[in-house]
Every structure is written in C-alpha cells, then in structure tokens.
C-alpha cells in the first residue's frame, strides 16, 4: 500500500494513519512521523513553494528507494505546500513492515531526504515580511548517514 500526496489544504494525520494501518493487514509494526510548523518566536506563517514537475515525481522516486532499501508493506508520504500557520502539520510519513527496524529506518530515511533533497522552498512571515529559509548543515549531515 503506497500513498504519496502533496496537499494544499490543512490535514489531520490521524485521519490518514488509521486507514493506512488498516490497509496493511498482517503488519508487525507501523512507524509514523508527523512534523508540525513550530511556534518559532515571531513567525506568523510558513510558505512552502514547490516545482510541480519535480516535487511529486521526486517523492515517488524517494518512495521507490525506500521500498528497495527496506522490507516494507506500505508507505504513506504526505507533504503540505502553500501557506501554513504554526501548529499545522506539514509532513506525515508512515511505514508499515513486518519488523520494527524496517519501519523505523524507512521513516528516518524518508524524513532525512524529504527535508533536504526534496524540491521545497520555504519562507517565513515575520513582522509582515517574508524571509527565505536557507539550507542547514544539519540536514546534510543527516543525509550523509545514508550514503553507504
């Protein structure tokens, strides 16, 4: 069961994870990560822009790599685009597998790659002005963990 989506509207992770779990009968474990827009000091909103011809195919290619690398029964990967307010979910990745190590590692792998190798550009609204977010060194370190 594979469910990859870009959403332009607010979503509630529980409404995705329940059906996803049900759709993978016989699983041993499900690992789920939900990222939310943090209440950073002075940040009123976060905007994610993307490039349609790359973003969704990029998420599918990432899912392909996750299925190759881990023994998975199902993978759910949902990402918001557009303008988000603090507290709103921005990303939800859920992996179902027979064994917990595959489920946890697949989520870890997808999150590391989604954060720094996927085609999203972010800017924050602070005091009425938009500011672009630059790439972080941390994300490159996280990615380097998988280069073996």
């Amino acid at each position: 069961m594979r469910d990859i989506r870009l959403l332009t509207e607010m979503f509630i992770p529980g409404t995705l994870i329940g059906p996803f779990t049900q759709a993978n009968p016989g699983l041993g474990g499900v690992c789920t990560f939900v990222g939310e827009v943090r209440y950073d000091e002075g940040v009123e909103a976060l905007e994610l822009s993307h490039y349609e011809p790359l973003t969704l195919p990029g998420m599918h290619a990432l899912a392909d790599r996750a299925f190759e690398r881990f023994t998975l029964m199902g993978l759910l990967m949902v990402h918001r685009v557009g303008v988000l307010r603090p507290g709103e979910p921005i990303v939800c990745v859920s992996a179902a597998a027979l064994h917990r190590r595959d489920a946890i590692d697949a989520v870890d792998f997808c999150m590391d790659h989604l954060k720094s190798a996927a085609w999203f550009w972010k800017r924050q609204l602070r005091a009425g002005e938009w500011h672009w977010i630059e790439p972080r060194d941390d994300d490159h370190r996280d990615l380097a963990r998988w280069q073996s």
């Binding site: 972010k122 630059e134 972080r136």
Partner: protein, 86 residues
C-alpha cells in the same frame, strides 16, 4: 516561446515567478540564457543564477551539466536554488 520558471529566492531576484521568452532568435544555449536573464528579466539575475548551487531543469528534468543546455521553442527552463532546511 520558451518559459523560464524561478523558484525560491530566485523569484525575488527575478521580480516574478516566471517569464515567457520569444524564441525567434532560435535555440538558446547557456550564455544566451544568462544574457536574456539580465537583459530581458532583471539586471543581476544572471549572477544569482550563476551561483554553482543553482540547478537547472529542462522540461522537468534536472540537468547534470547545466552549461550544456539547449532550450528550444516550447521548452520550460526552471532555475532551482538550494532547497530549504527544516
């Protein structure tokens, strides 16, 4: 026509998120494109695009060698700055 798409902060540098370029002059190579960005879109945009970290996609495919690009009538060229951290 050739369509140029500016992503992330390059949209700020361009002052817009995309441009239509008449391709009456024929195919565009990398020097042609940089000249058009400065002359027909906004002064300084070519420098922003020259940044080594900016990738270029032609019709939805990221080019391994952006300087080898040849854009033809009907093509879409996207300029992709580094993606944002978390």
């Amino acid at each position: 026509m050739i369509r140029f798409v500016y992503l992330g902060k390059l949209a700020d540098a361009a002052g817009k998120s995309e441009s239509q370029i008449a391709s009456s002059s024929g195919d565009l190579d990398w020097p042609d494109i940089l000249a058009l960005l400065d002359d027909h879109v906004r002064e300084g945009l070519a420098d922003a695009v020259r940044d080594k970290r900016v990738k270029v996609a032609l019709n939805g495919e990221v080019l391994a060698d952006r300087e080898g690009i040849v854009a033809r009538h009907g093509d879409e060229v996207a300029f992709l700055p580094p993606v944002s951290g978390g």
